[in-house]
């Protein structure tokens, strides 16, 4: 290891005032950097809330939007809320078992070489831009068959699997080996040890990983643009048709020239933001608790 700058001439005592001043300057800059990050978060949340509050009322979740509305009749985004619940729900059901199984395989069964290779694949999948996932699912399911909620769910599931797998792997690695050895030593087969000893120990961690993944994909717009965006204004629970979702609705309303549409976009953005902030902060809090519980063992 090189230790640049830590050689005699640079540490000369007569330069001490200058060195101290540089140090103070750098420390101040680091404080400012942290303040900027926190400030940006504050400004974004504040301005979303400020623009959203006047438009926030129950019509938002109880009324459908009206196409080409010429009156001031109250409009909402009920169809988008329902669509997001359906699409994200199905995506979670698709991604959760696959993600957990991949993690179990990599952590409990796979030889090191396969584990490294598939972990790399997971990271690559995690790095594929969401819009490319959208194009992929468009080619896989939408061409010739039309958009559907299922296609949207599949696209979101592609984004969720690496998140769920990585967080499950992390928590499986925290389960003490003594537990596995005790179980195997009692004659319990490997699969039962995995399913009834190791997995229950990690339920908390898997849950938080899943919640974080849900929070992440609930705000995704790009994959849904290709798979579930050409929609009417009616509420539908049927994932065989394209369903409106909150992020796509915000995206479309934000491009509209009508200020009333902007107001609804802000209101929907606030609801989405609050949902995501609460779930991800809650999940993180749970994760820390779980981790310290597992580590204390």
């Amino acid at each position: 290891m090189s230790a640049q700058g830590l050689t005699g001439p640079n540490l000369r005592h007569d330069r001490l005032p200058r060195r101290r001043a540089v140090n103070r300057l750098m420390e101040t800059l680091a404080w400012i950097a942290a303040a900027i990050a926190v400030g940006i978060l504050g400004v974004v949340i504040f301005s979303v809330a400020r623009h959203a509050l006047p438009a926030l009322n129950f019509n938002l979740i109880t009324k459908d939007p009206i196409q080409f509305s010429l009156t001031n009749a109250p409009q909402g985004l009920r169809n988008a809320f329902v669509g997001t619940i359906v699409i994200v729900g199905i995506a979670t059901l698709m991604a959760l078992p696959v993600g957990i199984l991949v993690a179990i395989y990599l952590n409990e069964f796979a030889p090191a070489s396969i584990r490294n290779a598939v972990t790399m694949v997971l990271d690559v999948l995690n790095g594929v831009p969401a819009i490319v996932i959208g194009i992929f699912v468009f080619g896989l399911f939408v061409v010739g068959r039309g958009q559907s909620g299922f296609a949207g769910s599949f696209a979101l599931a592609c984004l969720m699997v690496p998140l769920v797998s990585r967080s499950t792997m992390e928590i499986l690695a925290l389960v003490p080996n003594s537990l596995r050895e005790a179980s195997l030593g009692l004659g319990v087969p490997h699969w039962r040890t995995t399913l009834s000893i190791v997995l229950p120990q990690s339920v908390g961690g898997i849950l938080t990983g899943t919640v974080l993944a849900v929070a992440r994909v609930a705000g995704e717009t790009a994959p849904l643009l290709f798979t579930s965006s050409l929609v009417g204004t009616q509420t539908s629970w049927n994932p065989q048709h394209a369903l409106q979702t909150i992020p796509v609705a915000i995206f479309e309303l934000s491009e509209s020239p009508d200020p009333a549409d902007h107001a609804r976009a802000w209101a929907a953005a606030l609801v989405l933001l609050l949902f995501i902030l609460f779930t991800s902060l809650g999940a993180r809090w749970l994760a820390n608790r779980n981790r310290s519980k597992l580590a204390a063992r």
């Binding site: 750098m26 199984l101 915000i250």
Partner: protein, 330 residues
């Protein structure tokens, strides 16, 4: 219990043992199939994207990549990725340039400077920044940030640094590559800073304390110990941030303004690969235009694959190097 009983018990073992191994085999095969499926999925993504882009790849070949054109008028159709490639490079490199020093500052603040009471909350707040959906950030970017930049920051930069072509005449729309750079900076800041924070936490205490004991100031210790020790990881964090910036479609579409030309003016509108796809996909008029848009997606996919593989290669290499260094110190 006689020895005969024990032998009988031992001979019975293999039968139960085989049933047990059967269960192992089932779980291993099912879980292994899931792992295989994920691997196949990545291959399938590459194949499906290139398959859909094929009509455009066949027609235009590699010349598409550098050509500056997007003309969907039937009969005179001509498409090229040049200006979007330019927009992608300018916006993501710009965001990286702004985010890198900020992220280093945040990570150093969180690991070295912050009082204990601030450490946890500020870490959580910075990670919360990563949780803001891109569409919300884009909405804020176009309706709040854009107008502010347009009316104050851009004219000021133009009058102060106007001799540099990058800081040209602000566009009237309030949507510009500059707005996109700021929005992307906000998006990649939490990623880069949280990875850097973990790297800095991993620097051995004996090295840091050794430097301080030599009489260095805190900043000299950071420059002499923390940065060299985590340089590989920092590079990987920056590359991952770059990958995120390259691929962001929605927020960039909302704020970048659009346009098909290469302008060395940050305050003019433009488009990145991802934003062009998001902006034009629904309005695509012909199969060739759709295929060309997906060709843009294929370029983006290749970019992101390269970026990710390089970043991981760096991470693995520096992990190996540090494994040895740590062993030496133990």
């Amino acid at each position: 219990m006689t020895s005969a009983d024990l032998t009988a018990d031992a001979t019975r073992r293999p039968f139960t043992g085989r049933r047990l191994r059967f269960g192992d085999a089932v779980l291993q095969v099912v879980a292994g199939a899931a792992a295989l499926a994920v691997t196949v999925l990545v291959g399938l993504i590459v194949w499906k994207v290139f398959e859909q882009a094929w009509p455009a790849i066949q027609k235009y070949g590699l010349a598409f990549i550098t050509r500056v054109a997007w003309n969907p008028v039937l009969g005179r159709e001509l498409y090229g990725a040049g200006s979007f490639l330019f927009g992608t490079v300018v916006t993501s490199l710009g965001a990286l340039l702004l985010a890198a020093p900020l992220a280093m500052g945040i990570a150093l603040f969180l690991t070295e400077l912050a009082p204990k009471a601030l450490r946890g909350p500020v870490t959580a707040l910075v990670e919360t920044l990563a949780a803001i959906p891109s569409v919300v950030l884009g909405l804020w970017g176009i309706l709040v940030l854009g107008p502010v930049l347009r009316s104050t920051v851009e004219p000021w930069l133009h009058s102060a640094f106007g001799f540099i072509p990058l800081f040209g005449e602000p566009s009237s729309a309030g949507a510009s590559m500059f707005t996109a750079i700021i929005v992307l900076t906000i998006m990649i800041l939490p990623i880069v800073s949280s990875i850097s924070r973990e790297l800095f936490l991993g620097v051995p205490h004996d090295l840091k304390e050794g430097a301080l004991a030599l009489g260095t100031t805190r900043w000299e210790m950071v420059r002499g110990v923390i940065f060299p020790y985590s340089s590989g990881g920092i590079a990987a964090a920056l590359i991952l941030g770059l990958g995120r910036a390259l691929g962001e479609a929605i927020a960039v579409t909302q704020v970048i303004g659009g346009g098909v030309s290469i302008q060395w003016n940050l305050f003019a509108g433009g488009d990145s690969l991802a934003s062009k796809i998001a902006a034009s996909y629904q309005g695509a008029t012909s199969n060739l235009e759709t295929a060309s848009l997906i060709y843009l997606g294929a370029i983006l996919l290749v970019f992101s694959l390269i970026v990710n593989v390089v970043a991981q290669w760096i991470v693995r290499r520096s992990a190996r190097k540090h494994g040895i260094t740590r062993g030496g110190h133990a």
